[in-house]
C-alpha cells in the first residue's frame, strides 16, 4: 500500500517532501509525486502518514 498526491489540489509547497522519512516524494513536472514503490505509509515509523499530516491542501491520500 502507498499514498498518492492529488495533483489538482497540490499547491507545490514541498512540505510533504521534507517530512517523508523514506524520501518517497519528489518534484516532477510542476507537481509533487509519491513513488509507490518507496512509500511505506510510514508504517512502523510514525503513527500517521507524515505527508498527509503536514499537507495544507489535504491532498495526500491513500492510493
Amino acid at each position: 500500500m502507498a499514498y498518492k498526491i492529488k495533483a489538482s489540489d497540490c499547491t507545490a509547497c514541498g512540505a510533504c517532501e521534507a517530512e517523508c522519512p523514506n524520501n518517497a516524494i519528489s518534484f516532477k513536472k510542476g507537481t509533487y509525486v509519491i513513488d509507490p514503490a518507496t512509500c511505506t505509509e510510514c508504517k512502523g515509523q510514525f503513527a500517521n502518514p507524515q505527508c498527509a499530516s503536514v499537507c495544507p491542501a489535504d491532498c495526500c491520500v491513500p492510493a
Binding site: T11, A12, A15, A18, F46, N48, S53, A57
Partner: protein, 519 residues
C-alpha cells in the same frame, strides 16, 4: 522610466544639502520632533539597537523613506494553518492574502538579488518571509540562500520572518548566519484565544488541533523569542488584529513580548475577503477600521515600540516601502541577464548622502516643533494629515497619482507618522475616476488636510466638500516641518472660529494586494 533611480528622485526635489553644524544640539534636548513617542530615532532608542536598525526600512521609521528592502520567496512550505490564510497563496503573516509570489530556488534568489542591487543602490535589506514559513521544512532553502549571500554580499542585512513554531530548533543556526533581525508573528498569548485563529499545527511528527495546537505554538513562540533576545538578536513581533477575536487581547500580547525583549511590535489589520478563500474570508470575519486600528496602536504605545509603517508587502516585494518593483525582476528576465558582479560603490555613496541629510533634518524638525510648542501651547487637539509622497520624507506626489497616503498626526507634541492608507485601484479593475475619488475620500476621511505636490480643480472641490482641506503650498517640502507649520496656522484659524475641529471620523482600510508599481 530609466533603469537607475537617481538620488534626486528618491529624495524629492532639490539637492542634498551639507549637514547641519549642530545636529548634536538637537539630540541633546532628548527629544527632537521625530524621536518622541513611537517614532524611532536615536534619542529614545538603545544606541546598539539604533545602530543595527537605522538603515532598515521596516524597523526604522526614518529609514523607510530612504532605504529599500527585498523579499525573496524561497520558502513555500508551512507547518501551521492560520484562519486568515489560504495556502494556495502566500503566507498572510507578512504578505497579504490572495497574493502569489514567484517561487525561487536559492540559486535563482541570489541571481535576483545581485541584479536588483546593481539597479537599486538603496537596497539594504534582504528578507525571507515565505511564501510559506521560512523555518518550515527544516529552513533548508532559507539558510542556503543566506549562506550564499553572506559570501557574495556581506554588507546586506539579513532578516527572516516566522510563525515561531520551528524557531527554537534554529536559533543556533540563525546566530551563526549573523541574521540580526527576526520577525515572529504572534497573535495571542492565550491558547483559548489561539484556538480560534489556528485550526492545526504540525509539530513533532504529528498534526495537533484545537487547544493543544494553540498551546504548543504559544510555548514555542515564547521560547523562541526568549532564546533570540538572550543572544542579542533583534526581534520584531507582528500581530494581526482580528476584531472580536484578539483585538483587546493584543494589549496582553504587547506586554508579554515586551517583557521578553522584543524591540518592536507591529499591529497589522486583518485583511479579509471571501474571494481569498480563507476561513475568515468565508465566514464573514471582518477586518478593523482605520480608527479601530489606530486606537489599539495608541493604547499599546507605552509597551513594546510600535511600528506603524509596515506595508504588509508581498513575499517577493522589491523596492522602497510603498512601492513594488518586483515585476521588473521576474525570473525569466533574471535568467536572461548576464551574471552581475557585486559592486556597491553607488550604495556607499548613497548612504553617505543620507547620513548628512538626516543630521540636518533632526535639527530642522526640532526647530519647527519648538516654534509650535511656543505659539500654540497644548490647548489644541492633534489632527491627522494625509500626505502624498514618493519617499525622501517630502511632499512630492500628485494627488491623482498617489497609490497610498501616509498619515501624520500633528499636534503640540510634534508631528509623527502613524500609518498609511492604500488607495490603489487593483481590486476594482477598471473603475472610473469618480469611484477612484470616493475610494480616496473614504480612506482619508479622518484627516483634516491632505498635503500634495499638486491637485486638480475638480478633486480639490470634492475634498473641500468632504471637509478635507487640499494643501499644495508645501509642494516638495519636508513633511514633518510642513505639518507643523500647517498646524500652527490651523490652531490660529481654530481660535478665530474659521475652521471646525474634525473629530470622531473614521476611515476604511483597503483590502486586497498592494501592487503599486513605480510610475
Amino acid at each position: 522610466m530609466g533603469n537607475v533611480i537617481s538620488l534626486d528622485s528618491i529624495l524629492g526635489l532639490g539637492e542634498l544639502k551639507a549637514p547641519a553644524d549642530a545636529p548634536a544640539a538637537a539630540e541633546a534636548t532628548g527629544c527632537s520632533s521625530s524621536s518622541c513617542g513611537s517614532s524611532d530615532g536615536p534619542a529614545d532608542m538603545d544606541p546598539a539597537v539604533w545602530e543595527k536598525v537605522k538603515n532598515h526600512p521596516c524597523y526604522s521609521e526614518e529609514a523607510h523613506h530612504y532605504f529599500a528592502r527585498m523579499h525573496v520567496a524561497v520558502a513555500p512550505a508551512c507547518n501551521i494553518q492560520c484562519n486568515y490564510c489560504n495556502r494556495k497563496y502566500d503566507c498572510s503573516n507578512e504578505s497579504r492574502p490572495g497574493v502569489v509570489s514567484e517561487k525561487l530556488t536559492p540559486d535563482q534568489a541570489i541571481r535576483k538579488i545581485m541584479a536588483v542591487s546593481a539597479e537599486i543602490p538603496q537596497l539594504s535589506v534582504i528578507g525571507i518571509a515565505g511564501p510559506g514559513d521560512s523555518l518550515a521544512a527544516g529552513g533548508k532553502n532559507t539558510f542556503k540562500t543566506f549562506e550564499m549571500l553572506q559570501k557574495k554580499a556581506p554588507d546586506l542585512k539579513l532578516c527572516l520572518s516566522t510563525n515561531g513554531l520551528a524557531l527554537p530548533d534554529h536559533v543556533d543556526t540563525i546566530a551563526q548566519y549573523n541574521i540580526d533581525h527576526v520577525t515572529i508573528t504572534i497573535n495571542m498569548v492565550d491558547p483559548e484565544v489561539g484556538q480560534h485563529i489556528y485550526p492545526w499545527i504540525f509539530h513533532d511528527h504529528k498534526r495537533w488541533t484545537g487547544l493543544d495546537a494553540a498551546k504548543i505554538l504559544h510555548e514555542r513562540q515564547m521560547l523562541g523569542l526568549e532564546m533570540l533576545t538572550s543572544r542579542g538578536i533583534l526581534v520584531k513581533v507582528n500581530s494581526v488584529m482580528i476584531p472580536g477575536i484578539n483585538d483587546e487581547h493584543l494589549m496582553d500580547v504587547n506586554k508579554a513580548v515586551k517583557a521578553r525583549g522584543a524591540f518592536l511590535h507591529n499591529i497589522m489589520p486583518l485583511i479579509s475577503d471571501p474571494a481569498h478563500g480563507t476561513h475568515f474570508g468565508l465566514t464573514g470575519q471582518r477586518g478593523p477600521t482605520a480608527q479601530e486600528l489606530k486606537v489599539l496602536q495608541d493604547q499599546c504605545e507605552g509597551g513594546a515600540k510600535l511600528m506603524r509603517h509596515c506595508r504588509q508587502c508581498r513575499a517577493d516585494a522589491v523596492g522602497l516601502l510603498g512601492e513594488d518593483r518586483g515585476s521588473e525582476f521576474t525570473i525569466d528576465r533574471i535568467d536572461a541577464m548576464e551574471e552581475v558582479d557585486y559592486d556597491r560603490e553607488a550604495a556607499r555613496t548613497y548612504r553617505e548622502h543620507v547620513e548628512a541629510d538626516r543630521a540636518e533634518r533632526h535639527a530642522s524638525k526640532a526647530a519647527a516643533q519648538a516654534d509650535v510648542a511656543e505659539t500654540v501651547g497644548t490647548a489644541v487637539d492633534p489632527i491627522l494629515i494625509a500626505v502624498a509622497t514618493k519617499g525622501g520624507e517630502r511632499i512630492n506626489e500628485h494627488f491623482g497619482h498617489a497609490k497610498e497616503f501616509q498619515i501624520y498626526e500633528v499636534g503640540p507634541k510634534g508631528a509623527k507618522f502613524v500609518g498609511h492608507r492604500r488607495v490603489d485601484q487593483y481590486c476594482e479593475g477598471g473603475s472610473g475616476d469618480e469611484d477612484a475619488l470616493d475610494t480616496v475620500l473614504s480612506a482619508i476621511n479622518d484627516c483634516t488636510a491632505v498635503f500634495v505636490a499638486k491637485v486638480g480643480g475638480c478633486p480639490s472641490k470634492k475634498l473641500q466638500a468632504a471637509g478635507i482641506e487640499p494643501v499644495d503650498r508645501f509642494a516638495f517640502e519636508y513633511i514633518e516641518e510642513s505639518a507643523l507649520t500647517y498646524f500652527k496656522d490651523y490652531a490660529e484659524r481654530l481660535g478665530q472660529g474659521a475652521v471646525n475641529a474634525r473629530a470622531g471620523q473614521d476611515a476604511v482600510i483597503r483590502t486586497g494586494a498592494f501592487t503599486a508599481k513605480r510610475a
